[in-house]
Structure formats: C-alpha cells, structure tokens
Amino acid sequence: MNFILIAVAVLGAIGLIAALVLYVCSKKFAVYEDPRIAQVNELLPGANCGGCGFPGCGGMADALVKGADAGSLDGLLCPVGGTETMGKVADLLGMAIANGEPKVAVVRCNGSCELRPRIAEYAGLRTCAAMHACGAGETACGFGCLGCGDCEAACQFDAIHINPETGLPEVDDEKCTACGACVKACPRNIIELRKKGPKNRRVFVSCVNKDKGAVSMKACKVSCIGCGKCEKECAFGAIILENNCSYIDFEKCRLCKKCVTVCPTKAIHAVNFPAPKPVVTIEEGKEA
Amino acid sequence: MYGVMIALLPALLVSFFYFGIGSFIVCLTSVVACVFFEWAINKFMLGNKQNTILDGSAALTGILLGMNLPSNLPIWIIIIGALFAIGVAKMSFGGLGQNIFNPALVGRCALLVAFPAQMTSWPIPGHLFDYTDAATGATPLAVMKQAIKEGDVSVLDQLPDAFSLLLGDHSIGGGAGTIGEICGLALIAGFLFMIWRKIITWHIPVSIIGTVFVISTLLHLANPIYADPTTVILSGGLMLGAIFMATDYVTSPMTPKGQLIYGICIGLLTVIIRNWGAYPEGMSFAILIMNAFTPLINNYVKPKRFGEVPASK
C-alpha cells in the first residue's frame, strides 16, 4: 500500500511542478496576437492558395485586420471565397467592402492539333517551361500553347485540364476561383484572368501570336492575322490591335459579338451564348 | 543490377556446392517471391501501368535476401521475409530509388526477430541433399561470442584457421553460416569484378573491412579472448555485407568522403555489436543503422566545389 501512495504522491508532485513551469512560460513568453485575426481566419476558406496575394489564409487574415485598422478593405479580395466570404469578414470587422467582379481564367489559344500542324517532335522533358526554353515548340507558332500541362499541375482546384484530343487546356468555370496560379505557370502568358461576365458570357481573342499575318496563318489556321477588322467594327473602343494581334478589353466589352462575325479567321470566341435561332424565310405570295 | 548478379555468381555457386539443395531452394524461393510481390504490389495496389520487375532490382533483392538466410529455412518463412523486404522496405517508401533501408537486410532482420529459432540454426556444409532437416552446428561468430562471454581463450581453438575460412572449407568443424557468407574468396572475386566494371567504388568495402581490421587488431592485442583480425574479417556476414549490402546505391551516401565516413561507422558498429551486444552478428544491424544516417551524411558532406580550392600555382 505504501508503494502506491508514494508513487502517486511523487508523480502528482512532478505533474504539479511541470504544470506550474508550463503556466509561467506561457504567460512570460506569450506573443500577443489580435484575437480578431484568428476569428477572420475562421471565416476564410482555408485553402491557402495564395490567390489573394498573401502567404496563405493566415497572411490574408492579418492583412484584413490591418486594413480594418487603417480604415479600408480596398484591394483585399479572397477569390476562392468570393463576395460571400468577404461580406462575412467585413461584418465581423465592422467595415464595408468594395464589390469585386468575379473573374475566371481564360485560355487565349485555339491552336489544336488539327488547326496547328506539328512540324517537329519534341523529345525532351515534357513540361511547358522546358519546351519553351528549348524553342518555339512542336509547331511553327512560337507564341501558342505547348500542351504539356504546367497549368494543370499548378491548379489546386482541379479546374483546368488538358484535353488530349485538342492538346489545349480547358477551364471548368464552376471550379475556377481565379487564383492566378495557372497564369503564373504558363511560360507564354496565354492564360488571362478575365471577368466572368453576366450569365457567364464573355468574348475574347483566342490568340496571342505576334508574328505578321502571313507567317501566323501558315502556322495556324485560326490565328489572329492582325487585319484590324475587329478594331474598326467595335463601337465601344474595346479592341486594340498591337503587334499584329488584337486584344479585347473586358472592362469595355459589351458582348455585342459584332467582332466575332467580322473576324476572317474565327480567332475571336464568344463563350456561353445561346445558339443563333434558325432564320425562317417566308416566300412572297405563298400560303402556308 | 545485372552486373551485381554476375558478381554474386561465384559466391552463389560455391554456396550451392557446400550447402547443396537447401541453398538452391532458399535462393530460388526468395527470388521468385520477391519478383512476384513486386509485380503484384505494382499491379494491384499501386495501379502502375508499367511494371518494373524487369529492371532486375527485385530479383537482386531476392538473391541477396536468400544469401543472408540459413539454407534450412522453410519456404513459408522465406516468403514472409520477401514480403517484408519488398512490400515494407521498398514499395511502401515509393519503389525503386526511394527506400531508406536496404530491403534485403530489412527482410533478414525482420525474420531474425520474428523467427529467432529457425533463423539461428545453421546447417553444416557438406550435406548436399538435406533441406529443412539438415544437421546444424555453431558458426564461427557464435564461438567467438562464447569465448568473450566465458572469458576463455581456449574456446577459440574451435575456430577454423583463416585459410579455410577464406576458401570456405569448413570441414574442420565449427564452420556453419548463412548461404552467402561461406566463401570469402568468391566474394572477393565478385568485388574485383564490380570494381573492374565500375559498378561500385572501393570506398565502402575498404573502409568497412579496414575499420574492423584495425579495431579487431587493437582488441586482440589488448586481450586474446578477442579473436585475431583475419578470422574476424572472414567470419560472419562481414565480407558479404561490406561488398554487396552496404554498397547498395540507394541507401549509401553519394560522395566518396561520405562513403568513407559511412564505412568507418559501419565497421565500428559491427565490432561493438559483435563483441558487446546480444547478437553474435552485428553487420546487418550496423548497416541498417547507418542507412538511417545516410541522408544526414548527404546533407552535410558535400563534394568539393570547383573554385573552393585556392590558387595552388
């Protein structure tokens, strides 16, 4: 019996002393952190994707609290959580938020295996970065998509995949959070974050080839040849032709699609629009 | 891989000559089991489209595992050993090139710990047609351990002389062992072949054997209950371990200096475990312990960079 009592007493004493030491340390060496940071961090999605531009959700929470103290939350947006999350955070911090337009990643190249023929076989390390450093790639277009999937590897949301038939990446707009990882990964800056648009509709030039028209046509059937017809057609001044390639400014574009009809190489794409209704012609003088 | 297998041929053939059908069955089972497990794990658990069994690494693990086992080990135990070696020590770490520990040694040590009785009954060479019922005897290492424990030098008289140990002729009593460790000469032949074909470099085997030689000499001179250095080197799995197991690419350091440090530590640990540890054989444990230190050695022992050398004109 004695042994048990002694054992219990000794162990109990050790436990008490250890607890005391830990308590003193936790008080003496405590780092003060604003409790709001932890609360904001709770509201954030926790994906740590870096799309906000800060190192993880912890970094963003820190920035948000600092912003609240400075007086404004402008420029701080979590693309994954979107307006909903920002609203909750703003409520917690007692601030108003600026409304950010949702964006989505857009692949600006349509040079599929069929439309942009291969002229050589690349036998090296199959990443876009390596192929880009080696030369123009397997086709005659030195600006187009290389199809090795660096963008797919960079995406943490499973939102972009290379289509094995076309050799081009395809973005799933439901999953895309516009974090920008694929934009950074692409060595040719083919992917751009553009406004998602009303009803998920958008118009963009699916080509970034800066060679002269004759050269780019030889390389790819649907390249932008820099003819300028779209620039002339646009009533809203949204299209700029620079370096033999057109670019549509998504802030100014009204989705009228006139540029799509005039483009001779079908390089301008209109996404998620309803199919045009079949035109019915009524002949004069005939009864139904 | 296949170069190493050719280097192992002399030792294998000598073992078959001494241990007979038992050794052949053990080695064959080990190889077949290892290759099978690698194929099965690759196909069913990892879903790899390509199967890596043709690169020879599984077969080599099988041969080395077999050479570390006594020739009377039942087949079912060998299969468990192969599963451990390939499944736990190699595939679970990520397959070829990713394992931390030498798979054959992990298999052998797992068996030693799980089946100590079967793993420490050593058949005497010469009984060519006996398998699991072969007559057993003491190994030179067991004799040396006994001498140290009893503090009695005369026990060492039971040991075969160094020359017979070299050739593997254990007809003069007290000469059993695992399949691979029997003939030092055959192992040395394999070593020379691998050096010639540039499969391995001299650093690891020479540093291990050198360290053991030096320390054994010092111990022997201090107290004759410790066996003389040539006997120590030629007995047990030291030669096999130093030449074939410790030089495994995946688990050994990447720089010559690192390899020397690795070898010296293995030699040191082997001597310590053999003389003062519980087990008579310390080589496998020494190698496994140093395998764990290899990443650390790789991190701190860097090759001499170009330009670090000051002008020597």
Partner: protein, 455 residues
Amino acid sequence: MTSKTFRIGGIHPEENKLTHEVATKVAALPKQAIFPLGQHIGAPAKPVVQKGDKVKVGTLIAEAGGFVSAPIYSSVSGTVFKIDTAIDATGYRKPVIIINVEGDEWEESIDRSDKLELVKDHPELTSEEIVNRIKTAGVVGMGGACFPTFIKLTPPPTAKAECVIINAVECEPYITADYRLMMEHADEILVGLELLMKGAKVTRGYIGIETNKPAAIELLAKKCEEVFKGSEYNVEVVPLKQRYPQGGEKQLVDAVIQRQVPAPPAIPVNVGAIVQNVGTAFAVYEAVMKHKPLFERYTTVTGKKLAQPGNFKVRMGTPMKELIDACGGMPEGDNKLLAGGPMMGKALTSTEVPICKGTNSVTILSGDDARRKEPQPCIRCAKCVGACPMGLEPYLLAKISEVKNWEKAEQEDIVSCIECGSCQFTCPAHRPLLDNIRQGKATVMGIIRSRAAKK
C-alpha cells in the same frame, strides 16, 4: 608528352571526329543571306541599312546596340531585301536583315592578299588601337558563347590579367572546325595570339590542345618556338588530356595554370586568365591586320548518316540548308538537327536557320541517336556527382528544381552549373537532369538579379 587536365569530374563521350582529315572547302555563296541582329551576348545590334540599299562584302549593316554588344557586317554583296523576322538559333523568330546576293564585291578597305602581316612591322598597333579595331570589327567569341572580345581584353579594375589562354581544345564530339583552322592557318593564329596578348597587356600565352590532335600540337609547338623565340612573349603549347569538358573556360584555366575560378560572379580574369577560342584569335588577326570585319567562319557539317560530312569556310548568313545539301542532303528518316555539337548544341526545327558568329558546327544525329531513352527512377548511384566538373550534385539540383525550391537551389550553388551536360550523359537511368537544372538555374539567376536591382 605528359598532359594536364582539370581536377574535378569529367566524362569520355565517343569522339566521332568524322571530318578530322577532311580539308576545308569554301562554301558556295547563298542566294539570300539572313543576318539575325542578336548574334552575340548583350544588346541586339541596330540596323543601319534599309530595304533597297546596296551593300558590299564587309559593309556595316547593323551597329552595336549598347556597350555589351557588337556590330554586324554583311558577308555578301547585293541588295537589302527586307528587315523582317526569321527563325534563328534560339528556335524563335527574331529580327533579321535579309540580303539578296548579287556577285561578290568586297569593300576596298579589306586587304585580301595572303601576305602574313607581323605585329613588329606595325608600330601603330598600340594596345588601345588593337582593342579598338577588334571592337569595330565586331569580333566575338567564336567558340559558341559569342561574348564581345574587346570587353574580355579590358578587364574590370578589380582584376589583373596575367596571361592569354587560347582554347584550341575542341572537346565536343564531332566538331573539327578549330582543328582544321589550326592545321591550315597556324601562322595567322600565332599573330592573332600576339595581338591578343598585346591588347590585354600581358606577356604570357598558352595554347591548350587535346591530345587527340597530335599533328596540331606538333605544328603549333614548332611554330611557337620559331615565332616567339627571343621575343618578350613567353608562349607555351599545353597538351591536355582528352576529356569532356576540357574546353570549358573554367576547366581550361584549371588545367593550364592550375587555378580554379571561384563561383559566379567571378570570371576567369579574376584569377588572371583571359581565355579566347582559336577561331577568335584568327578573327582578331584578320580584323586588325587585314581590316576584315567578322563575317566568315569555319564550320563543321557532320553526322553519321550524312553522305559527305565536311568542314567549310562559310559566309555568315548562309542558311544551314545550303551546307547540308552540299554534304549530300538531310538523311532519310528521323533526324535531329543541332547548331553546335551533341553535348551543348541546340536542337532546331528548321533548316533555314542561318550560320551565325557562334555556329561552330551543324551536327545531324539520325535514327536511334536522335531519340532519348525512357527515363527510369533515380537509383542514387551518384555517377552524376562523379561526372560534374564543377563539383555539384546534379541529382539534387534536378530534384530541387523540379519541386521549385529556389532557396535551396541557390544554397546548393546551382548558378555554378556550366550546363555542359556531363550529368545527363552519364546517368544510367537516362534522367533529364540538365533540363531540370537549366530551369532552376535560369529562375535562380532571375531571382538574384531582381534582388540586386531592388537594392
């Protein structure tokens, strides 16, 4: 003869010097010559001609675009067709000047005679004058790197030049252009060496040659003895063991004067050596003594399946296709076209790429040689560590680059890599080591530059 070599790493690829004894032929003039504006390290040159201008051989067509730059001279006479873009040796379309060739009229200022001009006969050639003529002529490193030579001859104030080392090693397989140049123009090369030594204000010179060229060693040693005997210059021919990359600048300095250049940003002149390719020495002779700007070079066109591989004296701007046709045309089947040798050459997707200042060889690998084998897992055999001439750990650098850990890559000295390819050549598992290390090195160098710019 005892031969020296560098102290760390190295490999022994097969020599394949198919054109060793093929005498140099003068290549036919092309119908159209293409001059990329970026034929050297540094800012691209700026065109000074426009469409329709008539030019002669040796006319300036583009001036230097900055301090680290070089002018470009026409190698043909004719009319400027257009200033456009075309594929050059980078694999991309870059700005070029295209000239339609008419006749072969040379600028009068160029001395076309064969008379060997000696430095002692030209008292007007001070060090400054020599460097100036080299700069005006647009001479750049002809070994492939194309660094403007006049800058190398004027080291920064922190470094003092002690010797000039001529790189006549030609360690890359297949290439024999430098060897043929030595056998056919040894006298001019030695005058070029003297000019370089005078321009750099040194009196010590070395010529490093690999032992697989015994005739060249013998010839140059004899001529050095005759030419420099009794003069203020001390020139030695240094036979070097046959090993790759013996011709790498840093390895050459280590082998010849036993000094190792420290990690970048250090350069060979920091240990007192100025290294120049033997082709550059010849170009210096022609530029200074014959007033001939750089527009011509010796190029090897070779490949196992090529019908008649050969060495050519070719005008720059000639599309590679013309040379390949002169050798019997592209072989049947799959081919890999390299500008340079099989170790450090660049694979091209077009035969229209022109010969430029740094194109020392056009190598065609055919069939199985053209393809890579399937990479296997790394088994940590450490053969790459043994092969690396810079004492690095390629397996580690490749892995770190793959996982994009740039901080660790910088710590592991990835910027010291000279991209020689020894690691990838040696790897028994055919792993793309150099491909990954190149990515890592480029990214880390970018990070270092932006860090320095921020300061």
